[in-house]
Symmetry: C2
Subunit: 271 residues, 2 copies
């Protein structure tokens, strides 16, 4: 029996329930103020190329932590076992999505390397605290996401379009949002575009490539952030024999406070 | 004989020439990296009300320094004599512009208070260093300025519309410009509006209320900053018996490095 309705504020308790298979839903609203992360796991040479891809593309792929080969823990982010601690995974073979299991212990190998990447939840919390509307949250929808005509910097076989998320808001809020998000380099940082969607290759803003349709009010200006779905687009391009990611919205919940995304985490360890 | 063609990089030398009446032109491009300031001088009760107006409206009126009543020096900004050290002044009586002298020693009174306010030159230098186009500078024109439907916070008789300056640029540059200018609270700080001019009451962006027509390129987004002309608009509303300001573009050149506008100047004195 799962118990996904009531908010679970302790990240340790939440991960324990996930590990036991009692929590398999989206993690938004759970884990209190804990930092949540996008997750990518790759083997051998694929992992080396992807690490270079992240370092070349820090806006869409802000690296929070990289695991040691074959080690499913990420001690700098908490008492984590990546074989069990994400509520739902995605398994990709040769760039094709082949399954969405709730545990990947049977797929773990001794050359697998994990990558935890910052996520927009951190800056959305900061926007909400500043009184800036986050319309998809207010509407209980997923954030709208779009493939753009902006290219990532290739590394090995990893390349592809930058995927962006949209948050529409009044212009004065957009200016404040830019100032706030500049302080969150580990949560995609400042936006990558503002205003005319066509300038970055988005033909119909009302039809996103991922997520739900946007709620755009009169007087709103569209603001676009680099998005953590970008690595999944790069996986479909690179076609590694095996890749494992989190399923959208089903994030890795860490023990790090969300506010830590405001600066580089180097040397920061949870209490 | 004036000698305004060659750039004078030393602020002390520039002020000496201004004091001697040998330099009466605009100060842009002169004084090296020295901070330039808007200047307002008022008497008695008018000065007290204007000080409250500045404190209530820090975006258009960022206070660098306030003089002691009757004292024409501003020691925190340099070896300055405000009766002579601005290349051209404006004299306002009952809110009407009545003259543009190059010296105001004969108008100085023992209850006159001076206000030095931050100026956009500081952040324009920072934008240029970041490779962001400042189109009116490139075209050798004045920045376009507009009265808006945004109201300042009144203080005593001082009130009126916020005046904004426009810099149009590509969206990615606009995002970076917002991040940069956020760091310059003493140079009007972050923009106050971006995108649709009609939202802040600007009907025709090609016909500014002050300055020259804008150079807007395809793909540019308009970005609007609070402007140091706002206090002059407030003077025409308040109609003080006597007010003295700098003439547009003919700024007070200080001994403070321009970079000091990046933080509050409290306690900072020139060497």
């Amino acid at each position: 029996m799962t118990d996904q309705i009531r908010a679970i504020s302790s990240p340790k308790e939440l991960r324990a329930r996930i590990r036991e298979g009692r929590f398999t839903g989206p993690t938004a609203g759970h884990g209190g103020e804990a930092l949540q992360a996008n997750l990518v796991m790759l083997r051998g040479e694929d992992a080396q190329e992807f690490l270079r891809f992240c370092q070349a593309n820090p806006r869409p792929c802000p690296l929070l932590a990289v695991g040691e080969p074959g080690d499913p823990s990420l001690p700098s982010l908490g008492d984590i076992d990546l074989r069990h601690d994400v509520p739902r995974y995605r398994v990709w073979r040769d760039g094709e999505l082949v399954g969405e299991p709730t545990d990947i212990a049977d797929l773990w190998t001794d050359d697998m390397v994990s990558f935890a990447l910052g996520c927009s939840f951190s800056f959305e919390d900061a926007l909400t605290r500043a009184g800036i509307p986050v319309r998809h949250q207010d509407a209980g929808r997923n954030v709208p996401m779009y493939r753009t005509n902006l290219a990532t910097r290739p590394a090995g076989r990893f390349s592809g379009p930058l995927v962006v998320s949209l948050r529409a808001m009044p212009a004065a809020d957009a200016i404040e949002a830019i100032s706030i998000c500049e302080r969150f380099p580990l949560a995609h940082g400042a936006p990558v575009h503002i205003g005319d969607p066509a300038q970055i290759g988005i033909e119909d803003i009302h039809t996103p490539d991922y997520g739900d349709a946007p709620d755009i009010r009169p007087g709103d200006i569209p603001v676009f952030w680099a998005c953590g779905v970008t690595p999944q687009a790069a996986i479909t391009t690179a076609k590694p024999a095996l890749a494992i990611t989190h399923a959208p919205g089903h994030m890795l919940v860490t023990d790090i406070p969300s506010s830590h995304a405001e600066r580089r985490l180097t040397g920061v360890h949870p209490a």
